[in-house]
Symmetry: C2
Subunit: 489 residues, 2 copies
């Protein structure tokens, strides 16, 4: 057992250092003085260098050679350590350095190009990013599919072809649903102004209602909401807008989903490879089911309506039924991050197909804008009006995040499967949610998904919990039923 124990002690330290790097990221987005940025860049580079050196340390290979494990969990630990080590040593360090340099430059150029509506100014550096990422993908894939190797970073044990199969089933039904819904009259939108301090206070209440443990976390404001950390210190951020309290509330609930996953993992896995969410897709399944299937349900919005009336007084929505319509209002738009449940996945599929083609060499960067605009018009029924509403809207590609986008929709698909099983397992879920009590739902999710951390592969995790092979049917049925009823289709 010596090799196994030594390896695990080493991994614990590496995980602890990884947590520190994450904490620095939190600090940067919440409390860091503005002028500290250049120093922080050096601090981040220093800890990342330490982490990279540890992950590719030859001792890990030696330990892996002689370590053996008997329990299921210990075997899974070795599996994950091996996967991370193999990944770390496959990419030459000058390639990694080049990617870090070019993506850092690309982010600045992307922000400027977006501000100036100038796609041409971004394409040369994006070309470099794509070339370097393809090189990295080839190093990782070692003869296999480049895009699969990239997906592996975010959604291990899952291929581009598996994702494409799911997405191809979803697309026609979502295009149809979207068109049908937008053909009907829109529910009332929220109007008026909502005090931001009261939003933050109600946010905390919502977080606690969804099982977020403030003894091991905290809620702060940031420009972009996020969840950060694992184990005993999992912090979330949200944002406020005076005219759009839903942005604050549903960002909070979404991030609580991520945080609840990290807080819910078996404490035995603390600071080990199993002690974090197993994939971005399963992570997103938690944030999405909290936000949408639970948080935007008729039952829960009834409770939220009363909370908002208590906090803000009459805010111009007649009753809980009308409020449910307002919360779930489907509205034409261009921007992924502002999209509703009906349209969100169409945004993702567009990006998935384009980035997969870019990585395969089937789409040239110079043709990206035209491809984006054609696809958008086909799925949404109207033309992109400007690049910041089109192919320049997301930061991801400038950062080199290829293979990441599909995990958002995989999360929705997984959430659909989990919701179906949850409804069967907790038959009086709606009466609980109507009282602002999500403990039945969150308890089931902790028991069936969250506690396992990295123990099972993502799809296996969802299959064990939901009892079905993960596929889009449950999500599509849920969406068609919910929005069919809401819009009288």
């Amino acid at each position: 057992m010596t090799a196994f124990n030594d390896l695990m002690a080493y991994q614990r330290q590496t995980s602890a250092l990884g947590q520190i790097a994450g904490r620095l990221g939190w600090d940067q987005e919440t409390v860091m003085p503005r002028g500290a940025a250049p120093q922080r860049a050096e601090e981040m580079a220093a800890i990342e260098a330490v982490l990279h050196a540890r992950r590719s340390d030859p001792r890990v290979a030696e330990w892996l050679e002689s370590a053996y494990a008997t329990s299921e969990a210990d075997k899974a630990q070795l599996r994950e350590i091996r996967r991370e080590y193999d990944r770390a040593v496959k990419v030459p360090s000058d390639l990694a350095t080049a990617i870090a340099r070019v993506t850092s430059e690309a982010q600045g150029k992307w922000a400027q190009a977006r501000a100036n509506e100038d796609v041409a100014a971004f394409l040369p550096v994006l070309e470099e990013v794509v070339a370097l990422k393809r090189e990295e993908g080839a190093a990782l894939a070692q003869g296999g599919d480049i895009y699969d190797a990239m997906v592996e970073d975010y959604e291990p044990y899952t291929t581009g072809a598996q994702i494409a199969e799911i997405f191809d089933q979803m697309r026609p039904r979502l295009v149809t649903l979207r068109a049908a819904v937008l053909d009907r009259p829109e529910p009332a939108a929220l109007t008026g102004r909502f005090d931001e301090l009261i939003q933050m206070r109600l946010s905390q209440k919502l977080a606690v209602a969804f099982g977020y443990d403030l003894n091991n976390g905290r809620v702060d404001k940031a420009v972009h909401p996020f969840s950060s950390g694992s184990g005993l210190d999992v912090r979330i951020t949200t944002r406020t807008s005076e005219t759009d309290p839903f942005n604050c509330f549903y960002s909070t609930i979404h991030e609580v989903g991520h945080a609840a996953y990290e807080q819910g993992i078996d404490p035995d896995y603390l600071l080990t490879p199993l002690g974090r969410g197993v994939s971005m897709g399963v992570h997103e399944s938690q944030s999405r089911i909290y936000e949408n299937q639970l948080g935007r349900s008729r039952a829960f919005t009834g409770w939220l309506f009363d909370q908002m009336k208590e906090a803000f007084g009459d805010f111009g929505i007649a009753d809980a039924d009308a409020f449910y319509g307002t919360v779930n209002r489907v509205h034409s738009g261009y921007i992924r991050t502002e999209a509703d449940e009906v349209q969100y996945n169409l945004h993702i599929m567009l990006r998935f197909d384009l980035e997969r083609a870019l990585m395969a060499g089937d789409l040239q960067v110079s043709d990206l804008e035209a491809a984006w605009n054609d696809r958008f018009a086909a799925d949404f029924g109207y033309a992109v009006d400007k690049p910041s509403n089109g192919c320049l809207q997301d930061v991801h590609w400038s950062v080199g995040l290829f293979g990441y986008f599909p995990t958002y929709s995989l999360g929705n698909v997984y959430a659909g499967c989990l919701n179906q099983a949850l409804r069967k397992a907790v038959p009086d879920l709606d009466s609980q949610l109507a009282a602002g009590d999500s403990s039945g739902a969150t308890g089931w999710l902790r028991e069936n998904v969250q506690q396992f951390g990295g123990l099972h592969a993502p799809r296996e995790n969802i299959q064990r919990a939901s009892g079905v092979e993960p596929g889009p049917e449950a999500l599509l049925t849920y969406l068609e039923n919910k929005f069919g009823a809401l819009y009288g289709l």
Copy 2:
């Protein structure tokens, strides 16, 4: 130049990692969720292990062997790197581990013993701490004086004998001054309640008035005020008490002194061994001169009086002269951290003599309480009433901090020398301070002390700035004049 450049690049990374460890400490005292403590302990241990390994890395010795420098600054960099490396490799790692383990245990036992007024419960573990620290001191001293080797960690290039010489001159005059002052009627104390939010707001204003740059720092609340970080990210904390706003204001000004030092260092030294305060004593000279010679001056308290009236309305002090007396009120007490300018150094000298004797083997731990109480009665004129007011009041010895206490009084001595020179260099200082403008003072301190960081040895730094060999005369004269006038001696 390759060896020098490689070494400096390595040092920059080490400094950046050191900043991260410091940031974790800040986080722990200000924003960390309570339940995160056990995980944070592992995170701190992990980054400390990385830092220790880097500081004692054999490559540092190799680089030092072939590196050469021509400029004064680069030579000083090599001098400091060599000093840190020599220190890191002299202490066997199992001794360092044993000290970490025992002092961690000792802190808990100390807190409990203090709560229970039970000296006997603390002495056995203190005995272990003393034995291990003496062992460490012997490893560091390599035949030299053990206590000198410990002082070196906090006040490099300074010996116990040099400190004793200074303190021996101070003690009789301070004992006399103390007795004379306490023989006179006390000025009015502050009464009433002071809103804590308003205290924090005025605190920020005071911080800025003393030149603290909020673009590279921030002010938060913590149980114990402290300053944290170097370079572009130097944060301070303060505390509030509804009945004692001076605690908040003067803690803030004190910490701003520490922070201004770190913020004032030549930016060329960022993330290098010279890019931080050169010693605890010089650090304390900055915090003390800001807090006392400037912040508690008649001129500045006149401005503060108006600020407080504006913020809190009439608070029962008749005028600025009376307010000056209230701020500088000398009052009998047992506790070092609550002591005024007249009595503070007496507390330190007591600790210095006792800990030096402990390290020399001239005082046994079993005799510590009696020695403390005898000395206290001799210098303060009355008996210690309970251990929490006596030898159990400070955490330092349980943490293994021997050689640290004298730097507080060295700071006062240095502040006395600097104040004398500053008054000559900026003749209209008082009229500036009376208008809440400390820029003349802080500009002079930045120019003559702060900018140099670790370039000069502590005593040299003070001598260059003040034009005199650092000694207690300036401080004693300042105290005798100030309190002589205030108390009509």
